[in-house]
Symmetry: C2
Subunit: 253 residues, 2 copies
Amino acid sequence: MEHKNPIQVAGRLFGALEFLAETGSAGLMEVSAALDLNKTTAHRVLNSLIYMGYARQNAVNGRYESTFKVVDVANRIMGMVDIVQIVRPYLRKLMEATGETVHFVERDGIDAVYIDKVESLSNGIQMVSRIGSRIPLYCSGVGKAMVAEMDEWEIEEIWNNSEIIRLTPYTITDHDDFKAELEEIRERGYALDNEENETGVRCIACSLKEPMGSARHAFSISAPVSRMDNDRIRELADSALKVREEIAEKLRS
Amino acid sequence: MEHKNPIQVAGRLFGALEFLAETGSAGLMEVSAALDLNKTTAHRVLNSLIYMGYARQNAVNGRYESTFKVVDVANRIMGMVDIVQIVRPYLRKLMEATGETVHFVERDGIDAVYIDKVESLSNGIQMVSRIGSRIPLYCSGVGKAMVAEMDEWEIEEIWNNSEIIRLTPYTITDHDDFKAELEEIRERGYALDNEENETGVRCIACSLKEPMGSARHAFSISAPVSRMDNDRIRELADSALKVREEIAEKLRS
DNA sequence: CTGTTTATTTCATATTATGGAACTAATTTT
DNA sequence: AAAATTAGTTCCATAATATGAAATAAACAG
């Protein structure tokens, strides 16, 4: 535990909000139990959230639930991220060309954060990704695509700070394998996630190089293995690389 | 002022977070000034947000900025709103058929809250709508579409509780005009927003009737007046009504 | 180098959050 | 139908926590 929250209630307030966001709705006692709070405290915390408009009490069953206010705050934040607005049309085109779900991420430390998503129209399976959620760099297509562009020392730092876990039988957990993989990515120009993060899902990923400094963004095409044999991979990679070039051009202008 | 926040810091914490979301980034003194806080307090509040992962301090310039954590929380909330997942494919189809931006809202008191949006590909102008943001029922297409389905007493209540403001020269501010408008909507089956909320933008809106009780959701097609003459309105209204029927069928199953 | 602004740390104090207890309302059991 | 259980709300004395003045440090401008 790295020190402690300089404001105790803060943890309780945001904890309650997160709990409501996860559960959809909860009674006072549930919140009280989940956050290990005295019920009076839980009651006060919830009423504070209600006062500020972040929560409400359901009129019919009295249960507490979150409002859309935090959604508004979130979309204010996303509205400031210019790269999303610029890149989205290209990602949409890529989804339409391939018929598969396309993701867009931004690097944050040893993780990538999903900042946009264009879902496949004909999706049988739903991707579990969520805008704002994180995925480790070391075991994701988008992550590896960005890491491949980095300096040796930064790659080492990421590998050493990452908690290497075998998420699936295909997850790369050996340092040498990882470095070999990165070399392959550099040669090919795109990264491949062969069920390394989630069983049954393959991704093709490209990073966007910054004018200077290492890559901060990447996009990927995700599809179930059943639609991703070697031929399809080559086909999709072509589309991805073309789009990557188009975006690069747009960013230069 | 309706009483006061049962937890004083709560207002400061969320105020700081909202401020960072609005400005993109801010120095300590800016936060301190904006929220009228002692700089020590501002510092502690910001550090609490950082501790919880909702904010960070930019490594190069030391300025405070929000992270994507609140975006994650927001999308957790949105993920629980099933109606969005169900309706989205239809709204997408509608956007593709019409080439115009489509919005989806949920009623909340005297407002509608945007809960989904499918943006036009060939958009010249950007709609200022934001997921999570609110629009009054009385002066919006989606709002009027829902109000038209309500009982007399509820319509009165909404009108009386709304702060009627002439947002544009076309905004309906007369009670009788409003009631006449609602009657027209009932006859036509769809609502029209003729620059009543934002100059230069016309909308066609349909509500989704609930199995029982009054309408809680509505969708709309928005376009600049230049692309919305009477002929186009009839054409778009046809598309909208057809999609409304398709959604209704899906919801019955 | 000097003055100025901004950020961080310290600490005594008072305000604020805390939780036990009492109370009410709703739901379930006997 | 009464009793018991559970959930939700209000009250209040107390302790713990957030507060802000002041001191210090760091960054920046002239």
